[in-house]
């Protein structure tokens, strides 16, 4: 039976002409069909997309994934070219405020009915909802959530300094890292050397100092907050962090440092849950490290949110329209979370997903718990480094300043802050 169904499905995916020729019935209701463009080409991301494709085909749709190499700009160049040809993909990966920005350039699909039907909106915090219905209508569906401010501590490095507790405040953190340095771990912080990575470090610093200041300065771009002393302190903390990491990693992805972290040659990683997937990929187990959230000086910890989403572009063909509905339903379905997040190491968007499922690790469960906690405490913030807080133009301008600041050890925190203020003013 199973093999028969398989064959039938493959058959359906085949050319429309063949289907029409084989049976008149196929003509009556068009088979839902979808093309999805994403940057998720390889490794876990690619596998997760395959899992989504399987859910979609199981539901009777014809699936086509079109991965685009070259990062976000590569993907958006491609989509821009397709939009110019009036042939945008039926769905594509897009996130954060860019959903609103791009929705002004090309007609999107109104998903209100489907979202309401699934009772989806009530299952997530306002921060996420607002990004996906920027002008009152749902036009995009969130697929997964990451806590970017996750702290990983190498057990081997912790043994060297005789510690086993996760630092609570930035002072604790700084003294732990200094201790590691004193014990011969020259660069305890395993940090990548790319601009977005620097941006994340800055947001951890600022949100760990004050969540309110982060919201005012980074998310709302308020002048007073940007010029305020919390931002200045965050710059000072960023400088300390920069002194803890290996400048030799400039231009490198943080994952390159994973073996050094595991061997105890480095001790700390601050990164989203996907770092766990990378660790697993490199042959390490959760027993090799401790996990918590990055330091929070006072009050309940911030949940620094990164979410990936699919946006839906208007199509003429009926089968593609049906495919969009089916994809939206599939991504919102309870089965999607375990299937997709189970591979990428993220948290499902729906707060009602059973995290006890074997698809998840302990650390994912902990992050999910922190997520619902943060929703309750109203400590969810949107990540700057992961393009969640601002549009690309402001994010890039800010990241340029932060990258320049960390690479130029002669630049004072005051000078860094000044540059940040003017970068924002210039791009607002």
């Amino acid at each position: 039976m199973a093999s028969f169904r398989m064959r039938r499905r493959e058959f359906l995916i085949g050319s429309a002409a063949a289907v029409a020729a084989a049976s008149g019935a196929a003509k009556a209701a068009p088979q839902p069909r979808i093309t999805v463009s994403s940057q998720w080409a390889a490794g876990n991301d690619g596998k997760a997309m395959d899992a989504l494709g399987k859910l979609f085909t199981d539901a009777g749709g014809a699936w086509k994934h079109n991965p685009v190499p070259g990062g976000t700009s590569g993907l958006m160049n491609k989509i821009r070219a397709e939009m110019i040809a009036k042939a945008a993909p039926a769905a594509s990966q897009l996130k954060g405020p860019e959903i609103a920005a791009w929705s002004k350039t090309y007609p999107t699909v109104d998903l209100n009915g489907i979202v309401a039907g699934a009772g989806f909106e009530a299952l997530m915090p306002k921060e996420i909802v607002d990004l996906h219905k920027p002008f009152g209508n749902w036009i995009a569906i969130p697929a997964q959530v990451f806590r970017t401010n996750t702290l990983f501590l190498s057990k081997k490095a912790m043994e060297k300094v005789g510690e086993n507790t996760i630092p609570k405040t930035w002072d604790d953190f700084n003294s732990l890292a200094s201790k590691m340095q004193a014990k011969g771990i020259a660069t305890p912080l395993a940090a990548g050397g790319l601009a977005w990575d620097h941006g994340q470090k800055f947001e951890f610093a600022l949100s760990g100092i004050s969540i309110e200041s982060y919201r005012a300065a980074i998310m709302r771009l308020e002048d007073d907050a940007l010029k305020g002393c919390d931002v200045l302190d965050a710059f000072k903390q960023l400088r300390r962090l920069a002194n803890f990491w290996d400048p030799g990693a400039a231009g490198q992805h943080y994952s390159v440092l994973m073996p050094r972290f595991m061997s105890g040659d480095m001790g700390i990683i601050m990164h989203g849950g996907m770092a766990e997937g990378v660790a697993k990929f490199s042959g390490f187990s959760p027993d090799d490290y401790l996990v918590g959230n990055t330091p929070q000086n006072s009050g309940p910890p911030a949940f620094d949110l990164n979410a990936d989403s699919f946006i839906f572009w208007q199509q003429k063909d009926e089968d593609l329209q049906e495919g969009q509905k089916l994809l939206a339903k599939t991504v919102m379905s309870p089965a999607f979370g375990p299937a997709f997040s189970g591979i990428t190491g993220s948290i499902p968007v729906r707060s009602d997903v059973d995290m006890k499922s074997a698809a998840f690790t302990d650390n994912q469960r902990e992050a999910a718990r922190a997520f619902s906690e943060a929703i309750k405490n109203k400590t969810v913030i949107l990540s700057l480094g992961q393009n969640m807080a601002q549009t690309a133009q402001i994010t890039s301008a800010m990241l340029d300043v932060l990258a320049e600041f960390v690479s130029d050890k002669g630049m004072t925190a005051e000078a860094g802050q000044k540059k940040l203020v003017s970068a924002v003013a210039d791009n607002r």
Binding site: T72, S73, M76, N77, R80, M83, I84, A101, W102, T105, G193, L194, A195, D246, P247, G248, A249, A250, G251, Q252, V256, T391, A392, Q393, S396, A397, D400, A403, E404, F405, V406, S407, D408, K419, D426
Partner: protein, 288 residues
């Protein structure tokens, strides 16, 4: 027959017209965009010089042009010197000339994506030369230019020179071989040393080739993108930003087509600063 007279025109003009039209229209269109508030797509809202004013104030743009100055000068000089030296060496009636020439020329065959990737391994302190030497026992050895914000641009010069000096060699070799043999012989009979013959007889004869090499290398330098993108992505920080990276950053990373176009127009103007004098010089030579 009228058709026979018209036919050549039908063949000559379309390709010429297309090549001219493509250059002119794209340039004009970009120039137009640079005065608009275009974001992800072209818009027609005129904003005057605002885009120019904005990008000229950016420290990244200053860095990019300072870098272009360092890189352009360093790359052209280094590449020409190595290319000339190799050309002279290859021109010594050596055995296996084909082999050596192929070795020097092969980097030109490779894409910058490839050479950039390979060199990024070699130059990366944690993976390349530094690691190798340290593994051999010299544990203090340091070679970390690529991650040093003051030195990174020089490593890019070295890699680019490695890639392009074979091409310079080929051009110089062509120049050397088109110098009149009689002049060379005359110098030899006069008892001039080989070095003297080169410097005071052969090189002056191929002066036009020097100019050609300089100009070709300079346009190559100004257009450099992929290599830096793969090697350093413009970092550490913004230390290896170049005008092309700024254009890409504005147009496609940030989705600010207007500012990106302004940056592109600035870049083209820099190019014209190089090319127009060259043209004037050529025309003077042609009419003289």
């Amino acid at each position: 027959m009228w058709f026979k007279r018209v036919l050549p025109h039908l063949v000559i003009w379309p390709p010429l017209a297309v090549s001219v039209f493509y250059v002119v229209s794209y340039t004009l269109w970009t120039t137009w965009l640079s005065f608009t508030d275009s974001q992800q797509f072209a818009s027609n809202n005129w904003v005057g010089w605002r885009n120019y004013a904005s990008i000229i104030g950016q420290s990244k743009v200053h860095t990019a042009y300072t870098n272009l100055l360092i890189y352009g000068f360093g790359f052209v000089v280094l590449t020409s010197l190595i290319g000339l030296l190799l050309a002279v060496l290859v021109d010594q009636r050596i055995k296996a000339e084909n082999l050596f020439r192929s070795i020097f020329l092969y980097p030109m065959a490779l894409s910058f994506i490839v050479t950039g990737t390979v060199w990024s391994w070699i130059l990366n302190p944690g993976l390349g030369i530094q690691k190798l030497v340290r593994n051999l026992g010299w544990t203090d050895f340091q070679f970390n230019w690529i991650v040093d914000r003051d030195m990174a641009i020089y490593t890019i010069i070295i890699v680019a020179a490695w890639q392009a000096s074979g091409f310079a060699m080929a051009l110089f070799l062509a120049g050397l071989r088109s110098v009149d043999a009689d002049i060379v012989k005359a110098a030899e009979i006069d008892g001039a040393s080989a070095a003297r013959t080169y410097v005071s007889v052969i090189f002056p004869c191929m002066a036009p080739m020097f100019v050609t090499v300089f100009v070709l290398l300079l346009q190559f330098a100004i257009k450099t993108f992929d290599l830096v993108w793969v090697l350093t992505a413009g970092g550490p920080g913004i230390a290896t930003a170049l005008p092309t990276l700024v254009v890409y950053d504005y147009m496609f990373e940030r989705g600010q087509l207007g500012r990106g176009s302004a940056a592109a127009v600035l870049m083209l103007s820099t190019l014209l600063l190089v090319v127009v004098p060259y043209w004037l010089w050529r025309r003077r030579r042609a009419t003289a």
